[in-house]
């Protein structure tokens, strides 16, 4: 059956997309209160941890990196959903991207902020975090550009700033629209945010040129960020970390988890903000195809990594290998394979199952699986280091679990507040899409009338 979409008129489009910004229901306040409460619990736990020291966590000799590092890598990975995907689709001129880009770019900005906090959370004395910055000090802690942690600092901040700008620039015309439709305080705020924007051809050309240049610049930055996060591990001579495959493996995993997070976020927004006319099944279908491709790629990388380790049979690496394949961490490993590869397969490969529900189920599996993947990279290698007398295990304690849970609540809260200030779908980009479709249809009609089409 051919699905004929009922196109919303321009007025309907504006009303539909501005409704969440202009009108607030009691549900919004309840959601903010619940999520805010969980975030507050997380912050209090962090304070408790800072007051008592890292002894309250499960981090102990020989495993000093646990949940906090897993969360750091996980959230930085999730951040790859937005700006990277949006930039690639923009450069490829994929017209279906239009309703998706802002949802995606917002994920990047918030996930990076949350991910960037975890190294601070992991510090025993977070108020001394500035000691990590590369600056000459009297204590002899001199700037060290050879440290992967310094690379992280530059990479994450470049990506964060670039992503925020990439997200903010296309909002200006939408702010101008809100400015023109509101009065009072709202009018003044949005007027300030869109000061000087009136929609001249020059302004449109400059905005589009800037977005194109930034898209080109941000793709390599996004790839570099997760490669550099992988360097935190692969630069260390630790079994199963010191690997050349880690860069691309981390990037592929990041895009994989990012797309999954984007699908889940889009499905929630679609339902909560009544965006069914704009976030259509085709968007989930297309993202589902991308997710399927990344699932295959992820499987390929895991196979490569595991096969070369097993074939090499290195004395230092085999205990880690066995621990994850058939030992202490085997159940987590195989559950990860199930979540990332086996379970999504039917939902994404079979066209009839690649529905909104199907892609969301597959994405939930992938998010769980990718968190486990990060955990299995961080912990087993530290548990089974080169010499057997230094082996030990890690079990998370309640502070880590609370902080971990509150990071998800923080993501949801930031996203929720964002929907209150900005239309979640770029109105002007959506208009361009509708307009281009109309123009293309007119061209076909004209060609048919002139007998140019056979």
């Amino acid at each position: 059956m051919i699905h004929h979409r009922v196109k919303p008129t321009d007025r309907n489009m504006i009303e539909d997309l501005l409704r969440p910004v202009l009108y607030t229901t009691w549900r919004f306040y309840v959601a903010v209160a619940i999520l805010g409460g969980i975030v507050l619990a997380g912050l209090s736990t962090w304070m408790y941890q800072a007051y008592n020291g890292l002894v309250v966590t499960g981090d102990n000799w020989p495993v000093y990196w646990g949940f906090h590092e897993t969360n750091f890598v996980f959230w930085i990975g999730i951040s790859h959903a937005g700006t990277l995907i949006s930039a690639i689709l923009r450069i490829c001129n994929a017209t279906w991207r239009r309703p998706v880009t802002r949802c995606a770019e917002a994920i990047t900005a918030f996930a990076l902020m949350i991910g960037g906090i975890f190294p601070l959370i992991h510090l025993g004395r977070p108020w001394l975090a500035w000691w990590l910055l590369p600056y000459p000090s009297e204590r002899g802690i001199w700037p060290n550009y050879r440290s992967p942690l310094a690379w992280d600092f530059f990479a994450i901040n470049t990506y964060l700033l670039g992503s925020l700008l990439f997200l903010a620039l296309p909002m200006i015309p939408d702010f101008a629209l809100i400015r023109d439709r509101t009065t009072g305080m709202r009018h003044r705020i949005y007027g300030l945010l869109s000061k000087g924007w009136y929609g001249t051809p020059k302004q449109w050309h400059r905005l589009e040129s800037a977005m194109h240049i930034m898209a080109l610049a941000i793709i390599p930055v996004a790839v570099s960020v997760h490669t550099i996060v992988s360097f935190d591990f692969s630069m260390a001579v630790v079994p199963m970390w010191h690997s050349t495959i880690f860069g691309p493996y981390f990037v592929a995993g990041a895009i994989f988890s990012g797309i999954a997070a984007l699908i889940i976020a889009m499905a929630i927004l679609r339902k909560m903000l009544h965006l069914e006319k704009y976030l259509e099944p085709i968007h989930f279908q297309n993202l589902g195809k991308l997710l399927f491709t990344m699932s295959m790629l992820w499987g390929y990388f895991v196979f490569n990594e595991r096969l070369t380790t097993w074939y090499g049979n290195g004395t230092a690496e085999m205990p880690v290998f066995h621990a994850t394949q058939s030992g202490r961490y085997a159940s987590l490993f195989w559950f990860m394979v199930f979540c990332n590869f086996v379970m999504p397969f039917p939902f994404l490969a079979i066209r009839r199952m690649r529905t909104i529900t199907g892609t969301v189920i597959a994405s939930c599996g992938v998010v769980v699986g990718m968190w486990l993947e990060r955990f299995l990279i961080v912990v087993p290698s530290l548990s089974y280091k080169s010499t057997s007398y230094s082996w030990g295990h890690y079990t998370p304690r309640w502070p880590e679990v609370v902080i971990f849970s509150s990071s998800f609540a923080a993501m949801a809260l930031l996203y929720l507040l964002f929907t209150k200030f900005v239309p979640m779908i770029s109105l002007w980009e959506l208009r361009v899409g509708e307009h281009s479709e109309l123009k293309a249809a007119e061209n076909v009609q004209a060609a048919e009338a002139a007998g140019e089409l056979v």
């Binding site: 050879r146 530059f154 700008l165 023109d180 001249t200 302004q203 400059r206 800037a210 307009h435």
Partner: protein
């Protein structure tokens, strides 16, 4: 300030109005065009297309590259650390920092160029504006016309549901 303008629902009518105004002898620069989306397929939307933004971004990137190289190399020479048999100035690892600062500089230059050339933010009120532009209408008009009735009749003749407005 005097002005005459029309608001059009579709770009075809706006294009007709733009062409008629030009045929009536109004200079391209004197015609104000405002829209709620880029209209690159139409002549009226192609004005001011040329930009050196790409070159400026590349230049900004180059400045970032040189600056980052100097930052890393000079810092390493001034506060030398002899670690693991590595050279004092470690260009291989510095490349990571240099790359990030190059891209950051290119991005920031692009944004600054956009803000300056598109005149955002601007505290000056535009000569001609109508909030209906945000609703999807296309504004075509002329400010301080020497012959307002000619402009009015030209805009009226284009049809397309254009609403003529005058500021006197």
């Amino acid at each position: 300030m005097k002005a005459v303008y029309a608001l059009y629902r579709n770009p075809e009518s706006a294009q007709r109005a733009f062409a008629h105004l030009k045929n009536a002898g109004i200079a391209d620069r004197r015609i104000t065009v405002l829209s709620s989306e880029p209209m690159e397929e139409y002549e009226f939307g192609q004005r001011d297309r040329g930009t050196i933004m790409t070159w400026l971004a590349a230049g900004g990137g180059l400045v970032g590259l040189i600056g980052a190289y100097l930052l890393t190399a000079i810092t390493q020479k001034v506060w030398a650390i002899d670690t693991g048999g590595m050279p004092i100035v470690t260009n291989w690892t510095n490349m990571i920092v240099i790359f990030e600062l190059t891209m950051l500089s290119a991005i920031v230059t692009t944004v600054i160029t956009l803000l300056i050339t598109a005149n955002i933010p601007s505290w000056k009120k535009p000569q001609l504006y109508d909030p209906l532009v945000s609703e999807g209408r296309i504004l075509i008009g002329v400010t301080n016309p020497s012959n307002p009735s000619l402009i009015e009749s030209t805009l009226q003749s284009t049809g397309g549901g254009g609403v003529i407005k005058k500021i006197e």
